[in-house]
Amino acid sequence: MTVAVLVEGLTVEFGRFRAIDDLSLAIDYGEVRAVIGPNGAGKTTLLDVVSGVSRAKSGRILFDERLELTRRSEAAIARSGVRRKFQKPSVFEALSVRDNVEIGLGGANDAGSKEKVAAILETVGLSDHADRLASELAHGQKQWLEIAMVVVSEPKVLMLDEPVAGLTDEETERTAALVRRLRTPGRAIVVVEHDMDFVEAIADRVTVLHEGRTLFEGSMARARADARVVDVYLGR
């Protein structure tokens, strides 16, 4: 089985601040990987670099073992099948829910597109709201809408940045169920999250970042037992 995302010797700097420091990482198809760690550990920066929003100083990122991502534009990366949900819910507020998802589908306006949109709206539970403006949705619904927007194009790599931040317990559970449903053998899912129960519910493996480096990699249960992880992150 091929590796979905392979990060090698990645370094990202903002001025003098080194956000990611010589990081290496491999994410397989079919797995849900959680990336956790304290604030400033470089989690969101990692997603930024993979999705092309930020540029790496050195190192490389291989998608599907064939595409080098660090030099590509955000749009090119997205079109190749790597999609990402932002930390702050980013939906197009002046457009309807349906329009939002349709835009997520990309240029393909083929016969099946209407059905695809309907299906994904059903999956995230927004079918009843399809014709409302996105700005009228509640916070949790916006999170799901954004997930629908990135998922509708059936990406091979799906990155979710804090998908349950600010959600109620009930909404968090629904989101966890949603993520589990999105998991397919041909897709890698990367989740950045602080909610450890949520992580435990969905993640196959976790990677703990600290000061831009990997501190730990393995199952959630082992992470909870790891002294260093407890020290820098979980213990607090």
Partner: protein, 535 residues
């Protein structure tokens, strides 16, 4: 050359009077002075010739008569020439009081004005009460030494008591001997002239290359060549200094106009198009302070520029706070709307001022400390009004830097600039900081207006001249850095002044703006930028 033609005329007058030239005929001179333009020329020439051997008393009289002619205090009535003074009219010959009624005041023609100015200065040199007075007169004569009889300076030096001044008089006298038949004196004159090293000196010495002596006399040629080379070197330096000074002066104006903007834009990302009008209001407040001083303490009126500093700051900062609280505050989430709203504010302020005060330029007193300038070296002149602006800008830069770096307000401003949300989380009242910063920025704009009143016209429209330039400076410097703004001002000022003599003022401005636009395409964050994660 006009000076030489004057000289020729004067020499002619001297020759006509003969070497004796002793008789200083006041009555004749006064009569000539009332004889129309030609008569006035004769009067001036007669006085210049007579001053060589004139008594101190005659010299004093000459000062009075020439001064009266220059200041239009000379009056020609049926009873002859009179000098009108504030305390009453006197007979121009006897200086005894007369009835000043009737008659006309002749106006000096363009040609006669320099003659009378020279005569007055020469007479003052002979009769001035203090060494300072005589020194000033000598300085005025330096440029026109050639238009006086050569012996004048020797005589003046003889009677001069002050040793330093005496040497200077002799020096000026030597320079006047450039065309003397006596070769050593000519060479000495060349050396003396070369010591001034301005362009006029170059013209004079360089002109000697066509003198027959240049081909025949090696010593003379050597002196001329050496003089031309030496002047050329100093001239190049003084020109460079001029360019630098002009650039610095322009930069100081740019900096003053954009410093407030840099703070407001950097902190809030708000484009304040009314910034130019705060500058205008600052100047108007300075005017109000001047008028108040005129009414309350006329003796202090020269100091209105200093007295106005706190008033201007407080008033413009107050208006800024008011604008922030009523308009800008409600639009923080919509920066482009703020832009339009502040434009409307600027329109409103201009027109309020127009209706309330009128469109005419305000009349400012020009205190002695910002009036005129000083030739420092060669052609390098330092004008006091611009030096005032430069110093003012430097002090403003230092104080603003201090406020931003060393005071709690500055700390808060910097915190909010860097991360508004985080600053809010740690308990900084961001809205209050915004208001204070907007006030600070507006106050700085007001101070810019104050610094500009000795340089530019003050009228309701004045603010609009600065807006594009100052935005470009702020963006070029990098938003949110005062140092960036200062350096961008310096760069823009100097480049502008460098290009201007080559392609003209318009092209210079166009080129500089295009350079900035191109630079920003390449580096949108400006020279100095606070980098961070995007989005």
């Amino acid at each position: 050359m006009w000076r030489r033609s004057l000289l020729a005329g004067l020499l002619g007058a001297v020759v006509a009077c003969g070497p004796a030239a002793a008789a200083f005929d006041r009555a004749a001179i006064a009569a000539q002075a009332c004889g129309g333009a030609a008569g006035m020329t004769d009067a001036a020439n007669a006085m210049a010739a007579g001053l060589v051997d004139a008594s101190a008393d005659d010299a004093k009289w000459t000062v009075a008569l020439a001064g009266a002619a220059i200041d239009r205090g000379l009056k020609c009535g049926p009873g002859g020439a009179m000098i009108v003074r504030s305390e009453g009219a006197v007979n121009a010959v006897t200086l005894s009081p007369v009835d000043g009624g009737g008659g006309t005041s002749p106006l000096l023609s363009l040609k006669n004005r320099p003659l009378f100015e020279t005569v007055r200065a020469a007479a003052t040199l002979r009769s001035g009460a203090t060494a300072d007075e005589r020194g000033a007169a000598l300085a005025a004569l330096e440029r026109r030494a050639g238009s006086l009889p050569p012996e004048f300076f020797e005589k003046a030096a003889e009677t001069e008591a002050d040793a330093g001044l005496k040497a200077r008089i002799l020096g000026v006298g030597q320079a006047a001997l450039l065309n003397s038949p006596d070769m050593p004196k000519r060479i000495a004159a060349i050396e003396h002239i070369a010591a001034t090293s301005d362009r006029r000196a170059l013209t004079r010495v360089d002109g000697l290359k066509s003198d027959p002596a240049y081909r025949t006399d090696p010593a003379f040629r050597g002196a001329v060549d050496e003089g031309v080379a030496s002047i050329g070197r100093w001239l190049a330096l003084s020109n460079a200094l001029n360019v630098f000074y002009n650039g610095l002066s322009f930069a100081s104006i740019l900096f003053m106009a954009s410093a407030g903007l840099a703070i407001i834009f950097g902190l809030m990302g708000v484009i304040n198009l009314a910034q130019g009008e705060f500058i205008m209001i600052g100047a108007y407040v300075a005017y109000a302070v001047q008028e108040t001083l005129r009414a309350v303490a006329p003796s202090l009126i020269d100091w209105y520029l200093i007295a106005a500093i706190p008033v201007v700051f407080v008033v413009t900062a107050g208006i800024g706070v008011a604008v922030e609280a009523t308009i800008v505050r409600r639009l923080y989430t919509r920066p482009l709307m703020t832009l339009l709203a502040t434009w409307a504010v600027s329109l409103l302020l201009v027109n309020l001022m127009r209706v309330a005060v009128g469109t005419q330029n305000l009349q400012f007193v020009t205190p002695w400390y910002i009036s005129g300038g000083r030739l420092l070296m060669g052609d390098f002149i330092v004008t006091w009004n611009r030096l005032f602006a430069i110093v003012f800008a430097a002090v403003t830069l230092a104080l603003t830097w201090f406020v931003l770096k060393r005071t709690p307000l500055g700390l808060n401003i910097r915190a909010v600039t860097q991360n508004r949300a985080m600053a809010g989380c740690v308990g900084i009242a961001t809205r209050r900081v915004d208001m204070m910063a907007f006030g600070l920025g507006s106050g700085l704009a007001g101070l810019a207006g104050l610094a500009l009143c000795p340089i530019y016209n003050v009228n309701p429209q004045m603010g609009s001249n600065f807006i594009v330039d100052s935005f470009m400076v702020v963006v070029l410097g990098g938003v949110g850095t005062l140092a960036g703004t200062a350096i961008a001002s310096l760069g823009v000022g100097q480049i502008n002044v460098l290009i201007e003599p080559l392609y003209g003022a318009v092209a210079a401005k166009v080129i500089v703006l295009l350079m900035i636009i191109a630079f920003l395409q390449w580096r949108p964050e400006g020279l100095y930028a606070v980098k961070g994660r995007r989005k």
